[in-house]
């Protein structure tokens, strides 16, 4: 059975609950918006890391590229937001199209180092190019037209949240589509055993590049949504912290299932929010402990734990049913 498809029964209630947030927590919609943005970013990382096995520590590059592209479009007078997001996603994918062929030549540790160094380079570049990025002050003069010409952006972030949620829904369904296709199966094959894939005649590099581009596209969209909904882009969108944050979210939820990206982003962002008053150094205890915890519990993160619990209870129920005459 396709492990990915064991959870659809919970998916519909999830989206309903996500919509219900508007009614239940009307005053926390800024937070909910930020969570939805990071969830989409985590989904994009899962496509590259969890599904295709591209071990990257520099995915903030595409999140940041999307954010700056969206901001640049707005400052240039392109105020229509939806097309702005799409264009920003394409810009990020184009960047991946340039960097990807080089990055994907390596695997494992060299890949980690290359993506890390490239990420740092982009961060330094953004700090130096302060004419374009605003340097330490960031860009905050992002002016947008109403969504679809009808829905006005509001202080309560209700439009923002629904806007991001719509993109998250579409992006998630797209990612699920990719994973469920035979291309997606090929990606999981490459993750398991790239050598044998080559001996099955698979164009391994081209498969990986297309996965990387799709992932960058979604990451760019997430970055653009972040820029549009907060009306602000700072250089920290490109920082290593951003790359590590999204990695922690993904592995906390569980890699390779796409659902883990949603769960992880929600849990991580909520915990982070509750600890917002803390000294940032103390927050590092939490991240460090989370990472150690995730590795110790083994495969699958929180989604993996949930799966194991349901499987075990199903077995117990089955055994009881058999035990009765």
């Amino acid at each position: 059975m396709n492990r990915l498809l064991q959870w659809p029964s919970l998916e519909a209630p999830f989206w309903v609950a996500a919509l219900a947030v508007v009614v239940i927590f009307p005053s926390d919609l800024s937070l909910a918006t930020a969570i939805a943005v990071m969830a989409l970013f985590a989904v994009s990382l899962d496509l590259a890391l969890g599904i295709a096995g591209i071990l990257t520590l520099g995915h903030a590059l595409y999140f940041g590229a999307g954010a700056y592209a969206a901001a640049a479009l707005a400052t240039l007078g392109w105020a229509e937001p939806v097309s702005g997001v799409v264009l920003a996603g394409i810009a990020a994918a184009l960047l991946a199209g340039v960097a990807g062929p080089f990055i994907l030549r390596s695997r494992g540790l060299p890949l980690i180092m290359v993506t890390l160094v490239l990420g740092l380079f982009a961060f330094e570049l953004a700090n130096k190019a302060s004419d374009f990025t605003g340097g330490d002050n960031g860009l905050s003069d992002i002016v947008l037209a109403p969504v679809l010409g009808v829905f006005h952006w509001s202080v309560y972030a209700r439009v923002e949240y629904l806007y991001v949620l719509a993109f998250l829904f579409v992006g998630f369904q797209g990612a699920k589509r990719i994973v469920g296709s035979s291309f997606g199966l090929a990606l999981r094959g490459i993750r398991d055993n790239p050598v044998r894939m080559a001996y099955l005649g698979a164009p391994v590099q081209s498969h990986l590049l297309r996965a990387y581009l799709s992932s960058a596209l979604l990451a760019g969209v997430a970055g653009a949504l972040s820029a549009q909904t907060t009306r602000f882009v700072g250089t920290d969108v490109l920082s290593i912290n951003t790359s590590i944050d999204v990695l922690v979210m993904l592995v906390l939820g569980g890699t390779g299932s796409l659902y883990g990206a949603l769960v992880g982003a929600i849990v991580y962002m909520l915990v982070h929010h509750l600890a917002a008053e803390w000294n940032p150094y103390h927050w590092m205890f939490i991240i460090g402990a989370l990472l150690v915890f995730v590795v110790r519990i083994g495969e699958g993160g929180l989604v993996g734990i949930a799966r194991r619990i349901t499987e075990r209870s199903r077995q117990t129920i089955g055994r009881r049913a058999k035990g009765r005459p």
Partner: protein, 267 residues
């Protein structure tokens, strides 16, 4: 460069032709002027002592290693300069001596991977694999060829060693090879599973040319029409199994002094 023709001069070329293959690693010659030709449907065994260069030869034929000189044809196509992937597309498929599978996927998904690469559907990103119903059917049919259809839903990591060896062959079969290189298919298989393996090999489609590397003379005798003996990177002899086994030269060079007992026991 002339096309390789079968000896009778007929217009049907060999399924696989290797001419004058040379390979050196530093000062060591691991392939020395090797000639090999397999007609369609060949059942050819490659034997030789450890270090004779059998695995190297497979590497050269599949394109993992680059030859220093010589030529390789698949049918009438010169594949000498082609990548391993391109050779697969021309019908040259191999299995691995050490299982090389996709452990986190199911048995059926393993075969589906091979099928969809072969059919070219692996490039379609948005069509659900479930909608490719013929893929699932063909996967089950391929598994049935090696007797694994009842394991289709199990994860490979949960599969015993013997069935994993069979899956190696099923993966190769899914690619509809014209030439199949079996690298010690029975290596490490318990005797209980060996019969299952042998009968699976005997059931392989008869139009595939098969080159099998094998140590076990019982298997070689049962399988092969032709045997090539490789010693120190050179072809010592190519002949029928019976002729090879009675050849004094083969006995002397291949078996050495201590090999007598093992040879007798195995044959």
């Amino acid at each position: 460069m002339s096309e390789p023709m079968s000896e009778s001069g007929a217009s049907t070329p060999y399924a696989l032709t290797a001419r004058g293959l040379h390979k050196r690693f530093g000062g060591l010659t691991v392939a020395d002027n090797i000639h090999l030709s397999l007609p369609a449907g060949a059942r050819h065994a490659l034997i030789g002592p450890n270090g004779a260069g059998k695995t190297t030869l497979v590497g050269l034929l599949t394109g993992l290693l680059r030859i220093d000189s010589g030529q390789i044809w698949l049918g009438s196509t010169d594949v000498t300069r082609l990548s391993p992937q391109a050779r697969v597309k021309h019908g040259l498929v191999r299995t691995f001596q050490v299982n090389s599978l996709f452990p986190s996927l199911t048995v059926r998904q393993n075969v589906e991977l091979a099928l969809s690469e072969h059919a070219g559907t692996s490039r379609s990103m948005l069509r659900s694999i479930g909608s490719l119903t013929h893929l699932a059917e063909r996967a089950l049919a391929t598994l049935a060829q090696v007797g694994l259809e009842h394991e289709a839903g199990r994860r490979v990591s949960e599969l015993a060693y013997g069935p994993q060896r069979l899956l190696e062959i099923a993966l190769a079969l899914a690619l509809e090879p014209r030439v199949l290189l079996l690298d010690e298919p029975a290596a490490g298989v318990a005797s209980a599973d060996a019969e299952r393996m042998m009968s699976a090999i005997e059931r392989l489609p008869c139009d595939i040319a098969i080159l099998m590397i094998e140590h076990d003379m019982r298997i070689v005798r049962r399988f092969a029409q032709t045997v090539t003996v490789l010693v120190a990177g050179q072809v010592l002899a190519t002949d029928t199994p019976e002729a090879i086994m009675t050849s004094e030269a083969v006995r002397r060079v291949y078996l050495g002094s201590g090999g007598q007992a093992r040879y007798d026991h195995r044959s």
